[in-house]
Symmetry: C2
Subunit: 315 residues, 2 copies
């Protein structure tokens, strides 16, 4: 019997600094309702979905900074999303800034089951950006300042029967460009990877680098290839469009285990994409081309763990 | 000063079992001449370029099997290719079946400099197929029977000034689908990866699996994404078309460090593709998005080397 899970990606348009929490949550609830009406059993929201992408600013005031973080999950600010999802019988992935009781900060994502139970938590490992602000720059990328590196590894989770018992994994944003994270999920049998992201559409400080078309291509290429090479479905979901003068790419997509895009966002705004994901379609790849037990040769992979940076041969 | 290397891919059409060695070598010489006329300084030939893809047959006669192997490189059968390349001042990558003086067998590739010097050797690590023949099947995939796993790791080599001092790496065929090999090359500073392949266009035994369009997509997706994620150029070159009733995909391509295809074969026959590869175009990726020293987190990559097969969570 095919294990078909109807999955939605809930792409969000930009969230401005001045937007209230209830305003943003109302948008998320509308996307959730739309996905549920389309029959989705699992809805994937973006990274840091409840707020604007605040690491683009240097925020010296700790109280202002704390306003972007969640001290518990759920909490009163987000409870309506949890309540409505449970009422609709829909599970979800959502990214948020986590502030632990011990005062530790992570760029986190959780998977919640249709009955409201927590399936699992992931804390972003591949933090981009820098610790120190770039002097004189209008926009920063300060994830390395505001978050600790994730400390939970790359776990997979067996979903409940309401999500056809799938093996689910999570990544956050920049993680999707690093094949190591995908491979660890693959080695743990992943069948569906959820990944939310906020990715700059251009250099917000006016430098001449990749344009938004190329950046969207990169984003999809990473999701497609790593899905293929690990014989898994992937759902990659953007926060897109303009946030206070800084642009984010869209390109949210659902990718099959052959690396093909089967659903794709057409806008840079709030938009739901849906696909039926037959988790048994992973078997062909996992048993043949990417039968890890038969074909991997870890003896020669040592440098992947024994060194961090690149060491080219001498000139 | 930009370090621009004009590179050619010399795709080959099918080579039949009955084709003579001189006949096949004459085709390779014609491709070499064409590439040199187009100004290429480095020409990439396919995997097992001097013969048909013999692992598709169970060959019980050791003398017949040995006829597909090279006991030295160069040797009189292939010497004209080496001589002509040196006369033209063109370097090349070529794949061949290697039989060592000790009787060991590998699926090997070498890089030869424009002056005829050996730059480096690589022995295929990701051998597909099986040791034992599939009973009753018209076509086999017996690479695991005919070859040992490569024993040289994934080295990179500093090319001479005649090849603009580039950092070169090699893969063979199925290796290109495994991000681990690419990543080790990336950790060794690779700027141009050469990979020859023979990849089935369909199940030659008539099973219903991926069609040739999907298989070509897979091949290009793997080259494109791994080039992007390691900020390197890649040249992926097929032996294509029909070989004694078994079909091989084409899709030879040259890929830039952004993962974009900049040159692509249009046929399934002998065909030269050419592109100017500015090796300094790797710097943007290597210094920013894929600055390994700044962003990799090997502490969490352990399962990549500590386990071989997949271990899903319990159902």
């Amino acid at each position: 019997m095919a294990r078909v899970l109807r999955v939605a990606g809930a792409q969000m348009g930009g969230t401005q600094k001045a937007d209230s929490r209830p305003h943003t949550l109302a948008r998320m609830l509308a996307l959730l309702e739309q996905a549920a009406r389309a029959g989705a059993r699992l809805v994937v929201f973006p990274e840091l979905a409840f707020t604007t992408f605040f690491p683009r600013w240097f925020v010296p005031d700790p109280r202002e900074l704390d306003g972007y973080f969640e001290r518990a999950m759920p909490n009163p600010n987000v409870q309506p999303l949890f309540d409505r999802a449970r009422a609709l019988g829909v599970g979800f992935y959502v990214g948020y800034a986590e502030l632990t009781p011990e005062g530790r900060r992570f760029n986190t994502a959780i998977l919640v089951a249709p009955d409201g139970a927590l399936i699992g938590k992931y804390r972003k490992i591949h933090l981009p950006g820098s610790v120190e602000p770039r002097e004189g720059a209008r926009f920063q990328q300060l994830e390395k300042r505001y978050f600790e590196y994730g400390d939970l590894g790359f776990p997979t989770f067996r979903a409940p029967a309401s999500l056809v018992g799938g093996v689910l994994g999570m990544l956050v944003c920049n993680d999707r460009r690093w094949p190591e994270g995908w491979r660890v999920l693959g080695l743990r049998g992943v069948e569906l990877v959820c990944v939310g992201y906020n990715s700059a559409a251009y250099d917000p400080n006016g430098g001449e680098t990749e344009d938004s078309g190329l950046r969207t291509f990169h984003s999809q290429l990473a999701a497609q290839s790593n899905a293929y090479m690990n014989a898994t479905w992937a759902v990659a979901v953007a926060k897109a469009g303009d946030e206070d003068g800084s642009g984010l790419i869209g390109g949210s997509c659902i990718v099959d285990p052959n690396g093909r895009i089967v659903a794709e966002a057409k806008t840079l705004g709030d938009e739901v994409i849906v696909a039926d994901c037959d988790l048994d379609a992973c078997r062909q790849g996992k048993e043949k081309m990417f039968n890890f037990a038969a074909h991997r040769r870890p003896h020669w992979y040592g440098p992947i763990v024994s060194q961090v940076g690149a060491t080219p041969p001498e000139a």
